[in-house]
Structures are given as C-alpha cells and as structure tokens.
C-alpha cells in the first residue's frame, strides 16, 4: 500500500491504496465517486471516462501511481449543478435509456467540445466511437452533442 495525493474535481484527496490500483477503483471504492462506471476494465467501452487535464481518459486503465499532479475531473465535478452545456443537452434530448454508459458519454463529449466547440460529424463520431452504449442511444448522443455545441457558441 502507498499513500497518494490526487486532485479530483478541484479538491486534493489522499488515499492509501496499491500503486497499480486503477483510478476508476480509487474513485469508486476509496472516494465514493461512483458516477464513473466500470464496464470492461480494459479501455474498450468508455464507461469509466474521466478528464485528465481536460482530456478524455479511460480511468480503468490509468494506475493511481501515474496520476501525479494532473487534474482529474469526474462526472460529479463537470459542473456544480449539472448544468454544463453537455449535461443540459443530454437532458433536453432525453438521451439516457438504462443510463449506465451516459456519464462516460458525457465526459467524452465534453472533452471534445472543450477543444472543438463546433465539431464536424466526422469529429463527433471519432470522439464518441470509444464509448459503447448497449442500449443503442447513439442517435440521441449525436443530437445532444450538436445541441451542446450550439449552446457553447
């Protein structure tokens, strides 16, 4: 076990875990931030997507020992009141079905739009292709990304 200090959603958190513990399980088991989901554990589904310095990263495949001073943002910290333009768009378009993949989808979309506020269809599909939705909400995801983009203008 080893002590780590990481910055999550603007706060410094100390945890005592195995150095190879994936960030995903630190968030869920140690910090109680369960919005970030486990889906595959091998960087295939995107359910565990968080932001590391604003980039979409699969937290299931990022060991805590590699986090260092990089800034982590989870779905819980994307906005104070759930009103990030992407979150608003997700509600307006009524995207979720079972909802399990949606935190990851939102984090991927938010990372895309922060760098590319007006993405092309191609850019959206490249950014979102790593996030599986077993319920098949892809059409609404597209609609919501486009709507969020218009909100950010």
């Amino acid at each position: 076990m080893a002590a780590f200090s990481i910055t999550v959603n603007g706060e410094t958190k100390s945890v005592d875990v195995l150095p190879d513990t994936p960030l995903l399980w630190v968030l869920r088991d140690s910090l109680g931030l369960v919005g970030t989901k486990y889906g595959c554990g091998i960087a295939q589904c995107g359910s565990c997507t968080v932001h590391v310095n604003g980039n979409a990263v699969r937290s299931c495949s990022l060991p805590i020992s590699a986090v260092g001073s990089n800034k982590i943002t989870t779905i819980e910290g994307l906005s104070k009141n759930g009103d990030h333009p992407v979150q608003q768009a997700w509600q307006e378009v009524d995207v979720p079905q079972c909802g399990y993949c949606q935190a990851g989808q939102i984090m991927s979309a938010a990372a895309l739009l922060s760098k590319t506020p007006a993405p092309t269809d191609e850019q959206i599909s490249t950014a979102m292709n790593g996030n599986i939705c077993r319920c098949g909400t892809y059409h609404r995801i597209k609609e919501a990304v486009v709507l969020a983009s218009s909100k950010m203008k």
């Binding site: 399980w25 295939q44 589904c45 509600q91 079905q97 292709n129 098949g136 909400t137 597209k142």
Partner: protein, 712 residues
C-alpha cells in the same frame, strides 16, 4: 383486448379504503437507495400513489427499470388520470412487495399491458376522492367540480390543491367504480416526457446496483468454472489469503469467493488463485454444435409444434421447392453494468439490494437456499444498467446471499466483465431449415420449418405468420441439452427466428416473382378470408404496419437505393421495417432503417421512440457482429475487445413511426428488435446479390471482400 386482474386492483383499493394510512409506512431500505425523505403526513391513496399536504405527489413505480422507461411511463399513466401537475410528481422505485403489486418484474414486454388499467384506476380513484373532499368542503355536488393540473376547481373559479385536500380525501371510502378519461382528453399520455432519473444519471448520482456501498460492507468476486461441464476439484488459496486487503477465501458449490476490502485488491489477488477443475458432464465446442445441428435437422423424430393439411402431398405436387438453412450463434446479454448484488444475511432476516428484473424470483430462490420464509427477506431494486433478460435469472443474487450467510457479513458480489461473459445464460444457438412449396402460379401451397436449438426449448413460434395463411404446414423443433446455460435474451427466440423467416420469405417471394410487400399482404388476405387452423396474430394490425412502413419508406419508388422489407409480430405488438442500402463505389452503405410500429396507445413519445430506435440498433449490432463461440466448454469471447458490440460509427439513420389506432398499449420493450436483421439482409441482397444465412453477418463467407458501412 387486454385482461385486467380486477381482484388485484380491488385488493389495493381496499387497503387504502380500510382506513387512512397516515404516516407513510416505509418498507425496509427504500430510503437508503432513493435518498427520499418522506413527509410524515403523506396520505397513501393506494399502492401507487401518496399525496402530502405540502402538495408533493409521490408515485411509486413497482417494476424494475432497466432502460425500458417504465419508471417514467408508469407514473405518467397514474398522473394522467389523477390530472396531476407532472412538475410536482416525485417518482419512487418501490421495493418488492407482493402484497401491494403483482407482476413486479421486467420481461416479456408485458408491464404496460398488464398494468395499464390498474394504473389508470389508481389515478382516477384518487382524483375522484379529492373531488369528493372538495365537494364536502364547498357543500356542492362533486359532479359540478372539475380538475386541472393538480387542482380541484369550483364552478365559480375557486380552487384547492390536491395537497390541501389530501388528508380529508384519504378518509373517504374508495369509490368502487370510477370513470376513466376519454382518450381525447389525455394531456400527458402521448407526449414526450423526459426520463425522471435524467438529472441523477447525468450528474453521476448512485443509482445502480454497483453503486451501492455501505459502511462495513465487504466486496467479493467469485471464481466460477471457466468451462461448462466442469466442476471444482481443488483449491489452493494460500497465496491469495496473504495478499493485501483480502479478508477470506470461501469455497461453496463450484464457486471460490475471494472476499476483501476493495474491488481492485480482490481483482489482483484473484490472479494468484490456484483452482483445479474436473469433468462433470459433456464438454462441448462450437464445432460439436455445428455437427449436431446438421444431424438433428435430419433426425426423423422431432417435436411437432403445428401441423396443418397434408404437407408431404403439397411438396410432391409443387412446381418449385425452396429450401434454406439459417444459423445463429450464442450471444451474451452484456448489459453495460455487469452482474452484481448486495446481500446481508442476518439472524433475523435477509437484506438484498441490487439490479434484478425479477425481485420475487430472487427472494424465493434465496428463501429456498437458506430454508427461511420469504417474508424474512427484503428486496430493494436499484436501477439496472441494462438487463436484456440476463437479470431475469436469480443465480447472481442467490450466490451473494449464500456468500453472506457463510461469511456472516454484508457483502457486495461484483462480476468482472469476463465473469459476466463467461458465466452463461446465453441466447441459445439455433439452426433452422425452412422449406416452401410453390405451385405453378407462384402460390405458397406448402411450408415447413424445423428449428434445432442448443438449450433453446421450443426454437419456433409455431403460430406466428405465415401459419394460418398456408394450407399445408409443418412446424417442428428439436432441442439439444447442453451444459452451456441459456436463458431469455431480449425478444427470446424471435430475435433470430424473425430474421430467418423474413429473409426466407423474401426468397420465396422472389421465386414466386412477387414483390415482397405484396407477397406478404396477399398471404395475410388469404389468412383473413380462409384461415387455416388457429390464427394467433392480428391480421389487420400486421397489415397496417406493413402499409405504413411501405408508405413512409416510399417502398419500391426509390431509384438509387436497394430496399429490404421485414415485418414481425412478437409479444403483443407489430413492427415492420424497411432497410435502405446504397452502393457507393461498389460497396454497400446501410443508410437508413424505417420502422412502423403498432404498440397500441403510445404513452411516452420520447421513451417509445427510444425503444424502437434502441431495439433496431440492438438487432442490427447483434446481427452484424455478435457471437460467443466455445472451445472445450469455455466461451472464447470474454470482453468487448473480441465480443463486438455496435458502436457510434456503425448505426444508420433511423426513422420511427407509430400506428395510431387507440387500442390499449401492447408493449414495446422488445418488438422492434426482431425485424431488423431481416430488413437489412434483404436490402443487402438487393444491393449486392449476396444472401446472408448466418449471423453474425460480418463474419460470413458471403461478406468476404464486402466493405459494409453504416451512416447516420
């Protein structure tokens, strides 16, 4: 149309009428999941509805929510008849309570058909009581009053909120008969209402089973035999036990449970576990099944499911016989949230919390296992991160309960994705042989179908179309018992049978030189005029979706697009689909799928469109990519790296239409899935001349060198 268990409703009504239940009686641990603090003064009108003097309308949704939108749609029906202000409605997932609710399960697209009238009456009865309470206060007749958006309104314009009337209304006796709204007066039903859990989902609140944590709870993962047909021989857990965070290693049945303080510590320690297995039955591989399929298709004896006329004579006299075979592999349900459950077995009772489609089954199975009475067990239903039928099984609940009873501690058992995919209860693999006899004029005079399944039970649906439209017909099934476990998978059996049948009918229509849509319509007309044997589908409803899909897609009128048609009746609803493929530089591009559905009255336009679109994406994805193959009894696909699920880039545009016929709702969680594979395969044939017989399409010989693309 639909039968309602009237007694069930009266029973519910009486419990409210038998005395006002002031002070809401929270059962067990709802609050711990829902984080809902009940006002002590809530007035309980019936099992579905409570109103507080502060004017909060609480509607209880009993059925497990796994993405079928029940937690939004059910309360909408209650709120509609109550004439409530939807903004003031708070929806709460009810825990298992077989006294209050019947059919508290999610499966068979049956919840709405079952509960439609019950829910309406629950709302209407309360509304009537509120009006009577107001009438008393104002000393007028209740018949002079009206309601709107949560108010009872006096003819002179005075009004009282439901909350203001709740306490008095709750004391009144429950009216035996209430008038339900006329459909044209619906304000909420038929509109697009966003998911009631949206805000919690998009902000990452704990909602799902895997999100359940409790102080002092242990975590566990279970090593199960990797191969079906093997059992545990020996366990060496010495190394595991000394690893950090590990509390215990417990062996029961064929399971080795690693119990610890955190998920990762368990995942890591698990790698050091040494387990030996030995043979306990047949060890089967996919190659064995391929051989078995061929043998059993030719086996003289099979279970006859339906027989009309004289099939052999018809085939002898036929001018043309078409014979084709279709095969599908096993599929994993692969809900995004893997199996998991929390169990706490205590001296005085058992607490079960987690994602289940069948809480009652989970409870009964646990009661049997522990030899205790079911009423000692509470089941709280979390939101389900998908189910697709996998969570109809209680195996993962019982396992958690057994482990908790052995370690005498609260524990959450989590399945890794690999556990989930290797752990069974698959969509069964099936092979079908279809035969059609045509006379010289191209009339279908004979029809045969034999289904051979691996643990599929009856792999046919003998009374489905075209049964009833053909004079001479024989439907048979053969089942092979295998140690590989199978179970219901969204639209059981029809999820593949529909493809096979609709692709076959396309070929028959071609042989008969008829347009595929016209061919189906003619058969349906025949069934209507001269039905052969029992007809167990609604011919008019099927025709109406066929016509609507043909109209909306401009069937047969598009020059540069190859269209494929499919229509299917499953559960209680009808869906027709048209797929469109365009050839771009010699390669097929699946552009669009049109769907025309008849599910009766659409309750929630947004949810209903999702069910159809999602069903199509699901049907398409599995038809194109999905398969679990076995080697020596073990699944070869174990995670999403080689078990391919459809992704964002792989979906075509989808256009959804509904038949508006005003009949009571008939369910929509599954019926949009079955037709998709057939529509797509038929369009691909038209575009490329290549016929697909087996799934997954992308791995078939016919698709070698074909670069299929989809574009939304």
């Amino acid at each position: 149309m639909m039968k309602t268990n009237r007694r069930g409703f009266i029973k519910l009504g009486l419990s409210a009428g038998g005395g006002l239940m002031l002070g809401f009686n929270w059962s067990s641990a709802v609050a711990s999941i829902e984080n809902f603090s009940a006002a002590a003064t809530h007035v309980d009108f019936n099992s579905y509805l409570a109103i507080s003097p502060e004017d909060v309308i609480t509607i209880f949704s009993p059925n497990p929510e796994l993405g079928q939108n029940i937690k939004t749609s059910f309360p909408m029906v209650v709120a509609e008849e109550l004439d409530a202000d939807w903004k003031k409605v708070k929806v709460v997932q009810a825990p298992l309570d077989t006294k209050k609710y019947d059919r508290q399960l999610t499966g068979g697209s049956g919840a709405v058909p079952h509960s439609w009238e019950r829910l309406r009456k629950a709302g209407a009865t309360a509304r009537q009581m509120l009006m009577e309470a107001a009438a008393k206060r104002w000393s007028v007749s209740a018949s002079t009053l009206t309601t709107n958006a949560g108010f009872v309104i006096h003819p002179d314009g005075r009004k009282l909120t439901y909350g203001e009337l709740a306490t008095e209304a709750g004391k009144l006796s429950v009216p035996a008969d209430v008038k339900l709204k006329d459909r044209k007066d619906f304000k909420l039903i038929g509109t697009a209402v966003p998911n009631v859990d949206n805000h919690d989902m998009i902000t990452g609140k704990p909602l799902f089973g895997l999100d359940f944590y409790r102080e002092g709870m242990l975590h566990a993962m279970i090593q199960r035999p990797a191969s079906f047909g093997m059992k545990l021989k020996s366990v060496d857990a010495t190394a595991v036990k000394s690893m950090p965070g590990i509390v215990d290693v417990v062996t029961f049945k064929n399971n080795v449970a690693i119990v610890g303080k955190s998920t990762w510590e368990i995942m890591k320690a698990r790698k050091a576990l040494k387990v030996e297995y030995e043979k306990d039955g047949n060890i089967e591989s996919t190659s064995d099944h391929d051989r078995l399929f061929k043998e059993l298709l030719d086996k003289p004896d099979a279970t006859v499911r339906r027989k009309d006329g004289d099939v052999e004579a018809a085939f002898k006299s036929a001018a043309q016989v078409i014979k084709r075979e279709y095969q599908c592999p096993f599929l994993s349900h692969a809900p995004m949230e893997p199996m998991n459950f929390f169990a706490h077995v205590k001296a005085d009772g058992v607490e079960l919390i987690g994602p289940t489609q069948t809480p009652d089954r989970a409870r009964n199975a646990t009661a049997t296992l522990l030899g205790i009475s079911p009423d000692k067990i509470t089941v709280d239903i979390t939101r389900l991160g998908g189910g697709f039928g996998r969570r109809l099984q209680a195996d993962y609940v019982v396992e958690a309960a057994e482990l908790s009873s052995l370690i005498k501690a609260p524990v959450k058992v989590t399945w890794s994705r690999e556990d989930d995919m290797m752990g069974g209860s698959y969509r069964p693999a099936v092979r079908y042989r279809f035969e059609a006899a045509l006379d010289a004029k191209g009339n279908l005079i004979g029809y045969k179908l034999r289904g051979v399944g691996i643990n599929a039970g009856n792999s046919t649906r003998e009374d489905n179309f075209p049964s009833g439209a053909v004079d001479n017909l024989l439907i048979e099934s053969v089942d092979h018992q295998s140690p590989i476990t199978t179970g219901a998978w969204r639209a059981p059996i029809t999820n593949f049978l529909a493809f096979a049948e609709q692709a076959f009918l396309d070929e028959v229509a071609l042989a008969a030189k008829k347009d595929p849509v016209q061919f189906r319509l003619e058969l349906l007309d025949r069934a209507k005029q001269t039905p052969i044997g029992a007809i167990r589908y609604d011919i008019d409803r099927m025709k109406s979706v066929i016509n609507l899909a043909a109209e909306k897609s401009g069937w047969g009128k598009k020059k540069n697009l190859a269209q494929g048609f499919s229509v299917y009746f499953s559960h209680r609803s009808y869906v027709a689909q048209v797929a469109e493929v365009e050839m771009v530089k010699g390669n097929p591009v699946l552009r669009k799928i049109y769907a025309a559905s008849d599910c009766g009255i659409v309750i929630n336009k947004s949810g209903a469109r999702q069910q159809v679109t999602g069903g199509i994406v699901d049907g398409l994805g599995h038809a194109l990519y999905g398969q679990v193959t076995f080697k020596e009894g073990a699944a070869e696909q174990r995670n999403f790296n080689n078990y391919r699920l459809i992704r964002y880039k792989e979906v075509p545009e989808v256009e959804v239409h509904f038949v508006d016929n005003g009949i009571d709702p008939t369910g929509l969680g599954e019926p949009a899935l079955p037709p998709t594979g057939g529509a797509v395969a038929n369009a691909l044939f038209k575009a490329t001349g290549k016929r697909l017989y087996n799934q997954p399409f992308t791995l078939q010989e016919e698709m070698k060198g074909v670069k299929l693309e989809q574009k939304m």
